[in-house]
């Protein structure tokens, strides 16, 4: 392989050149340098090195809050790293520079190698060396025989099926020059081209991908992939503006989690229905059992079940007899017990006057435990499944501050409203399903029951199939290239004395071998093969004579 790689050219300082010439020479040298094996090696190292911070430092793409925390914790050092794009390594200028260079180097390396490969597939094996005894593997046999040189050669050739072969005649001696293992080159080129393909497919995928996350109540609620606003969070690729999402809808009918006695999750599943394509027009729903490791694949997108949680349902009966029901997800604080916290917020009905409204808003907040245990009056959960649900509530009334313009968390109340006294705690209660509590103004709050919610992720990546295909091609090419050995074998058959052609002479068979790759181990094959060829030359069926025992392969 290396043989076809020209060594890097260290050009002598040329005499004087015109500007254009100098530029040309510069470009040519750059290109040569870039496509040299050594450069590829150095670039590979740089790539490995450049990828390292991505494993050791928090990354924006994976965990943004953690990056912010890291920067605050590390002062100027954190800020410097941030400036140098160490928190988004794989999009950074320097990382891109390295892989673009490697890509160019790869292309520059593959083009000439492909040409050379094609040329070599047409040329015949090299001419047989004069002195076979000087090769690393050599064998010479002489025996009485009446067979003509041509017959012996024909017999030998029959044993060399699968070898690329050329035959020459020289002074009555016939020589065969053969080689095998050209497939190694094929494998190597397939590997590198597939690598090229993989990089391209990966990059294109990154441009046209999107993924989004959304929480949906598992009570028959629907989610439609019709716009970015339907998501809680959305990450588009560079070329995605969110206007052409693959249309489909899902309806989450239920969610089941099974736990071991110790509270370890055993499996999750959710019965859903979905529609896409023509089904959207005819409004046909198809069932699907969504569970871990089994995303719904539809409309070119995938829908994953990522997580789950509880949503306690409360009914508020206002003093005037009006009733409102609130159902919103609470967030699990501890995924092993599913102790959750949240805030379910209510506006009093029929109040349009904001000055009144902001004295009457209600927030039902606190903790929810699927399997409640009270320790010193504090609610905890003993088990993640719904064995004994209960809530421990802090109920607030007043101004929730929803009109302040700052986005509110759906899981908490605005603490500043509490601090400035516009929101007051009016009640505290521990409730189980069906129980109620009454606020000072006569409002009754009932903990009805609890529902489950699921968090879904929708992913779109149009090229991932190609990436897989290229990856498999790479693997195939790699295996071929690493296992096939390139080797050469020469056979020369002559008669002695040279003029003695027919009866009563002796046949001389000389065999030489050379391995062309640095894989040792040709010795064993040579020993076996040469014995077989010799048998054929002597007119015996191969294996009839005791084959010499070769050593173990190295």
């Amino acid at each position: 392989m290396t043989t076809i790689h020209k060594p890097e050219v260290t050009e002598q300082e040329p005499p004087r050149q015109s500007g254009a010439r100098a530029l040309l020479a510069f470009l040519r040298n750059t290109w040569r340098g870039l496509t040299a094996m050594r450069t590829a090696l150095v670039l590979l190292f740089l790539l490995a090195l450049a990828a390292l911070p991505g494993a050791l430092l928090p990354q924006v793409a994976l965990n943004e809050p953690k990056v912010a925390q890291y920067i605050t914790d590390h002062g100027w050092w954190g800020r410097l790293l941030n400036k140098l794009q160490f928190f988004s390594v794989y999009g950074s200028v320097w990382f891109s520079a390295i892989y673009v260079l490697l890509f160019v180097s790869l292309v520059g390396c593959l083009l000439p190698r492909t040409v050379e490969y094609l040329r070599q597939s047409f040329v015949q094996p090299v001419i047989t060396p004069r002195n076979l005894a000087r090769l690393p593997h050599h064998l010479r046999a002489e025996f009485d025989s009446d067979a003509s040189v041509d017959d012996v050669v024909a017999a030998v050739r029959r044993q060399l099926r699968g070898w690329r072969l050329r035959q020459d005649t020289d002074n009555g001696a016939v020589s065969l020059s053969t080689e095998r293992g050209f497939l190694r080159e094929t494998g190597n080129l397939v590997f590198h081209f597939a690598l090229l393909g993989l990089i391209v497919a990966f990059a294109v995928g990154k441009m046209f991908m999107y993924s989004g996350q959304v929480i949906v109540l598992a009570n028959g609620s629907e989610f439609c992939n019709s716009g970015v606003l339907n998501y809680d969070s959305f990450t588009p690729g560079l070329r995605v503006d969110g206007t052409h999402l693959a249309p489909f809808c899902v309806k989450i009918n239920d969610f089941t989690a099974a736990y071991t006695d110790a509270g370890q999750p055993d499996y999750y599943n959710s019965n859903i229905q979905y529609q896409s394509g023509q089904d959207l027009v005819t409004n046909t729903w198809r069932p699907y059992d969504l569970h871990e490791n089994a995303p719904l694949r539809t409309a070119g997108d995938r829908v994953y079940l990522l997580g789950h949680g509880y949503a306690p349902q409360f009914t508020v009966t206002f003093p005037d007899g009006q009733v409102r029901t609130g159902l919103i997800q609470w967030k699990p604080d501890d995924t092993s017990t599913m102790l959750s916290e949240g805030a379910t917020k209510f506006d009093p009905p029929d109040v349009t006057d904001t000055s009144v409204l902001i004295t009457k808003q209600i927030a039902v907040t606190g903790l929810f435990a699927p399997s409640a245990v009270f320790q010193n009056g504090l609610l905890t959960s003993a088990y993640p499944g719904l064995r004994n649900p209960a809530v421990s509530l802090d109920i607030y009334q007043g101004d929730l501050g929803e009109d302040t313009g700052t986005g509110q968390s759906i899981f908490t109340i605005d603490q500043s409203m509490l601090a400035n006294g516009r929101l007051k705690q009016v009640d505290k209660a521990n409730l189980t399903p069906g129980q109620t509590t009454k606020l000072p103004d006569g409002t009754v709050i009932r903990f009805d029951n609890v529902r489950q919610w699921v968090s879904l992720q929708v992913s779109h990546d149009p090229t991932q199939v190609y990436v897989l295909v290229f990856a498999l091609l790479m693997l195939g090419g790699l295996i071929v290239s690493l296992t096939v050995k390139r080797r050469r074998l020469w056979v020369r058959v002559s008669r002695t004395p040279a003029d003695q052609t027919e009866q009563g002479g002796r046949t001389v068979v000389e065999i030489g071998g050379l391995a062309r790759t640095d894989q040792a181990g040709y010795g064993e094959e040579f020993t076996r093969l040469s014995a077989r060829l010799l048998d054929a030359a002597r007119g015996r069926s191969p294996g009839q004579a005791a084959t010499p025992t070769g050593g173990k392969d190295s």
Partner: protein, 333 residues
């Protein structure tokens, strides 16, 4: 299903027993080195390949071939007449085989105890990787004359197993739902196997560097140097094992990507574990390149190989401790 405590305990005993047997066999290897003066130089290169030709045609055959391989194990003389070193060496191998059997038993019992494939946390990976390393070495022993290297393979195995049994030990328990997938089973099995296989070239390359240092300056590694096989043998051992381990690792990473696609919504996300796997892969690619680049063969290639293995170990075990990613299912902390 609940964990079968009794099986879990027995698995634990077997683990300890395996580590103990490995340590004992390590001493036997060392004793072999101590009693055998020098590495036995195998039957030299020249051989008469076709002596056995029979026939009535008065055939004469002469030839040279590089082989039987100088590294190949020599079948030492008849029974009862072996030198002490030889006997010690054979006992060492027998002990290693015994250790590996008990080790395998430990892993099997663990699997039976938890009713799942026993590759669910770091303790289990570590154990499996070590078993593969020992197994790979025993297989290579059939092809190369490397018995004296036994101790050097067993040292890292011992260290890893010791860490696995103490610091990283995790109680037998089932795994979370995301991990219940046959792709995952294939993925972790293949990757851990590759890691175990690649331990051998890692060790061989370290020894290659030691041997080289000794050859350049015989005062360095004075005791160890002369007992090691030739640099050529060590290099070949490293290369031949790497070209088996590397495609295996590539396949393992592909399986991981397939699984990640169905579990996490993307096949590749530059999660710390994925990133480090990528780095290890690139380093091994660099190793293969280095062997085809003038000026990079030999020492540099050996260093790259050691580096590659270091990254593998770092990835399989320690990345879980220093960062948190999706792969943080290690069950530690």
């Amino acid at each position: 299903m609940p964990v079968d405590e009794m099986l879990a305990h027995n698995s634990q005993y077997a683990y300890t027993a395996a580590v103990t047997i490995y340590v004992i066999s390590m001493f036997f290897y060392l004793a072999e080195s101590a009693f055998g003066r020098k590495a036995i130089t195998a039957a030299k290169a020249v051989a008469e390949p076709a002596k056995a030709l029979v026939g009535t045609d008065g055939a004469t055959v002469t030839g040279t071939t590089v082989g039987p391989d100088p590294d190949a194990p020599v079948n030492a003389g008849v029974r009862g007449n072996r030198p002490l070193a030889e006997r010690l060496g054979r006992m060492a191998v027998a002990l290693t085989v015994l250790g590996a059997t008990v080790h395998l038993l430990s892993i099997a019992l663990r699997g039976l105890a938890v009713h799942r494939w026993p590759l669910g946390n770091m303790y289990e990976f570590m154990s499996f990787v070590c078993l593969v390393a020992v197994g790979a070495w025993l297989i290579l022993l059939q092809r190369f004359q490397i018995r004296r290297l036994g101790a050097f393979v067993l040292i890292p195995v011992f260290i890893l197993m010791f860490l696995g049994g103490t610091v990283l030990y995790t109680q037998a328990e089932p795994v979370q739902p995301a991990l219940q997938s046959y792709w995952l089973v294939i993925h972790v099995t293949v990757v851990s196997t590759a890691c175990g296989v690649l331990l051998v070239p890692g060790v061989a390359s370290v020894l290659y560097l030691i041997k080289g240092a000794h050859e350049r300056n015989s005062a360095m590694f004075m005791r160890l140097g002369p007992k090691l096989p030739t640099q050529a043998t060590l290099d070949r051992l490293a290369y031949r094992t790497t070209i088996f381990g590397f495609p295996l690792f590539t396949f393992g990473v592909i399986c991981g990507a397939i699984w990640a696609e169905s579990a996490w919504g993307r096949f590749w996300g530059w999660d710390p574990k994925e990133t480090t796997a990528f780095i290890a892969w690139v380093v091994y690619a660099a190793y293969l390149h280095s062997r085809a680049t003038a000026g990079w063969r030999g020492n540099r290639a050996a260093i790259i190989n050691v580096l590659g293995f270091a990254v593998m170990v770092f990835n399989l075990f320690f990345i879980n401790l220093v960062t948190t990613g999706l792969h943080s299912y290690a069950g530690v902390g």
